[in-house]
Each structure stands twice: as C-alpha cells, then as structure tokens.
C-alpha cells in the first residue's frame, strides 16, 4: 500500500493555536528538567518521582514484553470503528467481522498511568500532603542527583562550555 494514512491530505482546515506558555507539567518537565544552563556543583534539587517519570516515559524498551503488549493492542483494535479516521484506505474494511468488542487498551499505557499517579495528588491544593510525601525522601536527594548526572554526560559538556568551576 503506497498511501501513508497518517500523512495523507484530508481537506480539513488548519487551526493550530500557538500556546504562549508551556501549558502543563509535562511541557515544563520536558523543557526545564534537563535542558538549559547548569552549574552542576550547584544543582540542589529533590527529584523524587520526577526522575522515575522521565525514565519511564522516555525509554521505549525493545523487549518481548513490549512486543506482546503491542500485539495485544493491535489484536484488540476495532478496525471498523473509524469515527476519527474517515480517510483510512478502504482495504481494511471488512477485515474485522465481529470480535474485538473490547476497547483498545494502550500498548504502553503503563507509562501514562505512572504519569498521572505521580501528579494527580501533586497539585497546589494538596501541597502539604505532597511535601510530607517527599520529605522522607530528601536524604536520598544527593544520591539521586549523582545518579542522574552520571547518566547525562551531555550536561557535563554543557557545563564545561559554560566554563563553570569544578
């Protein structure tokens, strides 16, 4: 099949709105957690939870487990419920005669669950609860920081360019 469904023209108008500021925590994490200038000896931050999140979210593990979950997701896919995919090639119509009743479960939904678990209670409203939860972890802060740094030689290069003292 020569057409690429995801990049074919569909005739609908544009309508992308530029968001002036990072609109959510995910945007912000992506921008400021490991990008930007840094003076490494002066990074003092408790990365409880966030670090785990970035690892979970960023690594797409090429493992048997991942493949099985992808297979599961594809098998449960209801190819006929194309409400959002009007322009999919017609050849797939009729592939699915019944079955696949279940709603598709995301192949790697685990990563997203982790994401929401981490932050659902981490809102301004429950600042106290959040503080309590993280307080106990503060002692590990240095350790986590060091581990994080070892994994990110790019930051070291950045620091050297910045000419910061060691």
């Amino acid at each position: 099949m020569a057409t690429t469904a995801l990049t074919s023209r569909n005739g609908t108008g544009g309508g992308v709105v530029r968001t002036p500021n990072p609109s959510g925590l995910a945007d912000v994490i992506d921008l400021i957690l490991d990008k930007g200038l840094v003076i490494d000896i002066y990074v003092r931050v408790s990365l409880v939870g966030i670090e785990l999140l970035t690892i979970d979210a960023r690594i797409v593990v090429a493992s048997v487990d991942t493949y099985l979950r992808f297979a599961e997701a594809v098998n449960r896919l209801d190819l006929e419920s194309n409400r959002d995919q009007k322009n999919l090639p017609e050849m797939i119509d009729g592939l699915e005669e019944g079955g696949a009743e279940k709603k598709t479960k995301g192949a790697l939904e685990g990563a997203k669950d982790t994401f929401s678990d981490l932050f659902s209670s981490d809102d301004d409203d429950d600042e106290d609860e959040d503080d309590d939860r993280q307080e106990g972890e503060d002692d590990d802060g240095d350790d986590r920081k060091r581990r994080r740094r070892r994994r990110q030689p790019a930051n070291r290069r950045r620091r050297e360019r910045a000419g910061s003292r060691e």
Binding site: N10, L37, R44, D84, P89, A107, L108, E109, F119
Partner: protein
Amino acid sequence: MDAYVYGVIAAGAGVRPPDEGVDDQRVELVEHGELAALVSDAPRLPVKANRRNLMAHSRVLQSVIGGRCVLPMRFGVVMPDRAAVAEELLEQNADWLASQLRVFETYVELDVRALCREDDLLRAVVAERPQLAELRESLRGRPGPATHYERIRLGELVASAVAEKREELTERTVEALGPFAAATKRSDPTHEEMLANLAFLVDRGRLPEFDAAVDALDSELDEAIRLHYIGPLPPHNFVDVEAGTEAQAWA
C-alpha cells in the same frame, strides 16, 4: 541565604520580575556588569521538583521572554548566596554569557509536538502494511500459548512500523518548518502518543511566517494527528550550542 537561579538576561533592561518564584519566594535581579540573573531566596533545600516549583520556574522565565532574550537555567540551580551568583555565575562566565545573549538576542524557541492517539496510530500502521493485517488475522481465535512467538513477531513488526512513522513525521515536520527557522533540534518523543518532538529557533520577526507554516502543515496532516505548538520560549533546546561555531553559522 541560598539563592535559586532562573536565568540570565542583559542588565539594565528595566525588567520587573514576577512576585512569586520557587517556594513562593520573591524574584529579584542580581546585576553584575552587563549581566543580570533572575534570583530568589531558597529557604528549603533541596528544592523540591514538585508541580508547583516546576511551574514557578517556567513562569518566571516566560514572564521575561516576551520582551527580551533570557538564557534559561535548568531547574534546581541553587548557589550559596547572591554574592556567589554575581561572582561565580556572572563574573566568571561574563564573556561566554554575554556572547550567548548576543547570539540569541533576536531569537525565540518554538516547540512543535505531533500527537496521535494510540489506537488511531495502530490502525493506520495496520492499514498501511498488509503483512500486519494478515498476521493479525491469522492469530484471531487461536489460543495465546500456541501463538506466543507469532504474537511477539506481530508486536515487533508493529513497534518497527511505529518507529518508522515517527521518523517519517519528524522529517516531514522539519521539512515544512525548518526553512523558517535558524536552527532545529530533534528530541525523542517523551511518551507513547507523541510522534514528533521538535524545537525550532526562530527570529522574532519571522514569527507570523512560522505560525502560518505550522498551520499549513497541520492542515495537510491526517486529522488524527494533533500538533501541540508552544512559544515563544527561552532557547532551552539551543543554549548549549557552542558560541563561535554552529551558533554563528546562523547568527
């Protein structure tokens, strides 16, 4: 008192930093020569990387970027006091920081992410590859244990098809938007439903052109794909460009 640092700007610009920074502390400027750092007290160490603080860091930077160039610090940089900010950050790195400010003076970062719901993505992938559809059909109704290796094979094929889709969309986006930008940075998607994760360094004067290009790209893409378009941002993805080399190629 420990000093939390948000970023560096040119001194004497009449910038009024916002009232509330990390841990609800007031943000002020520490000036030294031609440079100024956005700083607040850090009463509690280590600084917690919670939602409130991460958002506060970002908000402080965003409050400045509207009018001028700001070199963003990574989240969590805390120096012993304001004198250390003046001496060890601004004075010791004065030449490098000043050159970076000149390089990025008229540029802002714009981030474009292509998102697609996973089932839409998988549907498209299966539709494009008859081999996947056949394999999927052949597994239908057969017990799990008997098809273990076939299912692994199916998943592997899907994974590689998704990876190809990511690459394809990333290149397509770079092709469409790159001509309007001075520099482009590709990053890995940060979650499963992200197909492309790109940052562009764009001259402020070309912002309307870039907006139009993003809009045009969006109208060409399948409607299952949504573009998440953010900016203007400080050059988070570009500040580590080494001054004097790549930087000047487009400056």
